[in-house]
């Protein structure tokens, strides 16, 4: 097996002095691997993926992303952020910019691409998420599902090696979840490394190589989706699965 693209080595994190949110996390993600993280709220799953692009900093242990160690070095952080795209629960599109400007912002200002090239690239990504016809609209003029697809396209404009998804469908109306999941499934087929926090078990079964179950800041269990859903080993994961699948 080649060198993992993400390595957590005994990573610990606290909020304040007493809230131990990540406890001794050991995790290796292989290149092109697709991981789904699930677990009850407050289990630290969002914090875990937010450490990967340093939206949160860890206090103990080592965290390497594509060979770069994340510590206080600002250059390293910038370098990692260029390789990692992120999609948020609340989309976090920039409401004062059109869809196209949302996409070209970073390529033009960080990647120093000329405007025309950035726009061409952006249109390609918009086609990829099937929303090219909305390019000149403002985010708030779109539906939730459309906004989230724009957010995915925006992250893809950086041609990242890793995509992080932090509950991408949790804020969507039920009728719109599918259009976002379809785009994510398509993306999964294209070999990009994906780490998704989600409770969409159908999605996990369809695309994940590995499901990780977290509780109270720890990785409780990890397995391939088939085994995880059929025969959860840990009592805690069994309990969790029975609650979310139990009707």
């Amino acid at each position: 097996m080649s060198e993992p693209i993400i390595t957590f080595d005994k990573v610990n994190k606290w909020y304040g002095n007493n809230f131990h949110v990540l406890r001794d996390i050991d995790l290796k993600v292989a290149r092109g691997e697709r991981i789904v993280i699930c677990g009850p709220s407050g289990s630290g799953k969002s914090t875990l993926i937010r450490c990967i692009n340093r939206l949160e900093e860890h206090q103990q242990g080592r965290l390497l992303v594509d060979g770069v160690e994340l510590a206080d070095d600002v250059k390293a952080i910038d370098e990692v952020r260029k390789k990692v795209g992120m999609v948020f629960q609340q989309f976090n599109l920039f409401p004062h910019l059109t869809v196209l400007d949302n996409l070209t912002l970073s390529p033009m200002w960080v990647g120093k691409l000329p405007k025309k090239e950035a726009e061409e690239k952006a249109m390609q990504q918009l086609e990829r998420v099937r929303i090219a016809e909305q390019a000149s609209k403002y985010p708030l003029q779109l539906s939730g599902g459309q906004q989230q697809r724009v957010a995915i396209a925006r992250a893809l404009c950086l041609t990242p090696k890793i995509m992080l998804f932090d509950e991408p469908t949790s804020a969507l109306d039920p009728e719109m979840i599918k259009e976002v999941l379809d785009v994510m499934i398509e993306l999964a087929g294209q070999g990009i490394t994906m780490v998704c926090v989600t409770h969409e078990m159908g999605f996990a079964k369809a695309v994940a190589n590995r499901v990780i179950f977290m509780d109270q800041g720890q990785i409780v269990e990890q397995n391939n989706p088939h085994a995880f859903f059929k025969h959860p080993q840990n009592e805690r994961s069994r309990d969790f699965l029975s609650k979310i699948l139990g009707h």
Binding site: N53, L55, D78, R81, K82, V84, G85, M86, F88, Q90, N92, L93, F94, P95, H96, L97, T98, L105, S106, W109, V110, Y138, P139, L140, Q141, R154, A155, L158
Partner: protein
């Protein structure tokens, strides 16, 4: 049996008319007995008051600078003659009488520049250069001492040109300072945060008059012998620092309303701190506080009238000086005040209308 098909009900018009003049009158003026009676009472008061005011201010008013006629009309007609008599002194203050074309040209130029700066087609990089040129021309015209123009010391500048100069310059300089201070108060670096907080609290804690006093009388005491800074510049700096503190708080209010997710999204896209502020945070924050910003601008404009306490005679000070010096016209000071009130109102109302236009522009993205 086949499944029932969905049958949409066709839309129907509302049962009572809600559009047009009659509907408007009904819902706004005569909705129930309370609104109807207040409409009648207020309408009656207007009918009683407006004709009297029009009679006083227009029909029976004396327009010519004729002191006798003014005295005769006292009590029932306004004496606009005082404005006709003193207008040059009110508008240009103590500026040498025969040279007053210079402040007139300088002010018109400055006003043209202000109006142009408000219009979108002129928002180009060269606008900054044009401003610099206009300021230089303004000072050359006003101060002279070159190009064959006689020298006019700044303490003789006055009236409307001084009001416009003080407010335009202090607004233009206060705004960037306020941006930096507002960002500084939210900085991660404790020293910067403390400095900005202390600045805002200190300046906000004192009245503008005392800032002007300090700029005008105390500051020179601390300067080395022989080195003096013109009182106009000291006062300008005073007003600027004062205005910047208030503006900074207004802007900080907007900054606080930006959700954290916006900044996180910018960070994940690799934007630097300044890029994030410039491209993401400030455009949204400023758009939210346009009304308060213009509010501050309007107060700066009117607060410049306080500089008369340090012997700079801007519009209000010039009026005082013009009328107090002449016992004959002193009884008609009210009309003089109404005249400059009209000037102030024209400027403030324009700013207010402009702010509404800006609000509409920045809210385009919020229309669904």
């Amino acid at each position: 049996m086949s499944a029932p098909t969905f049958q949409p009900i066709p839309p129907r018009p509302a049962p009572t008319n809600t559009e047009g003049l009659l509907a408007w009158l009904r819902s706004n003026l005569f909705g129930d007995w309370k609104t109807a009676s207040s409409t009648i009472i207020l309408g009656g008061l207007l009918l009683w008051f407006v004709p009297q005011f029009l009679n006083w201010s227009l029909v029976s008013a004396v327009w010519a600078p004729d002191l006798k006629a003014c005295r005769a009309a006292e009590g029932f007609g306004a004496c606009w003659g005082v404005v006709a008599e003193k207008n040059r002194l009110i508008i240009f203050g103590r500026y040498p009488f025969e040279q007053q074309w210079r402040p007139l040209v300088a002010t018109l130029l400055m006003l043209a520049m202000l109006v142009a700066s408000c219009m979108r087609p002129f928002w180009k990089p060269w606008l900054a250069g044009a401003w610099l040129a206009v300021l230089v021309i303004f000072f050359v015209l006003m101060y002279g001492n070159t190009l064959g123009l006689a020298k006019v010391e700044t303490d003789r500048w006055g009236g409307l040109p001084l009001t416009i100069l003080l407010s335009a310059l202090s607004i233009v300089m206060a705004f960037p300072i306020a941006l930096v201070v507002a960002l500084g108060r939210r900085s991660d670096l404790p020293a910067i945060r403390a400095f900005c907080t202390i600045y805002v609290e200190l300046i906000r804690g004192v009245p503008l008059i005392s800032v002007l006093f300090m700029a005008s009388f105390m500051f020179p005491l601390f300067m080395p012998q022989g080195l003096t800074i013109d009182v106009l510049i000291r006062v300008l700096v005073g007003i600027t620092l004062f205005a910047a503190a208030y503006l900074a708080e207004v802007i900080r209010g907007g900054l606080q309303a930006i959700p954290k997710g916006q900044i996180e999204a910018a960070a994940t896209l690799g934007l630097s701190y300044w890029q994030t502020q410039r491209k993401i945070v400030l455009p949204q924050a400023l758009a939210m506080v346009v009304p308060s910003i213009v509010n501050s601008f309007i107060s700066i404009f009117k607060d410049t009238s306080l500089v008369s306490i340090v012997s700079l005679y801007e519009l209000t000070g010039a009026l005082d000086m013009a009328i107090n010096a002449d016992a004959n016209w002193k009884p008609f000071k009210l009309q003089g005040y109404l005249f400059i009130a009209l000037i102030y109102f024209i400027f403030c109302f324009s700013m207010s209308r402009y702010s509404q236009w800006v609000e509409k522009q920045v809210n385009i993205s919020k229309q669904r």
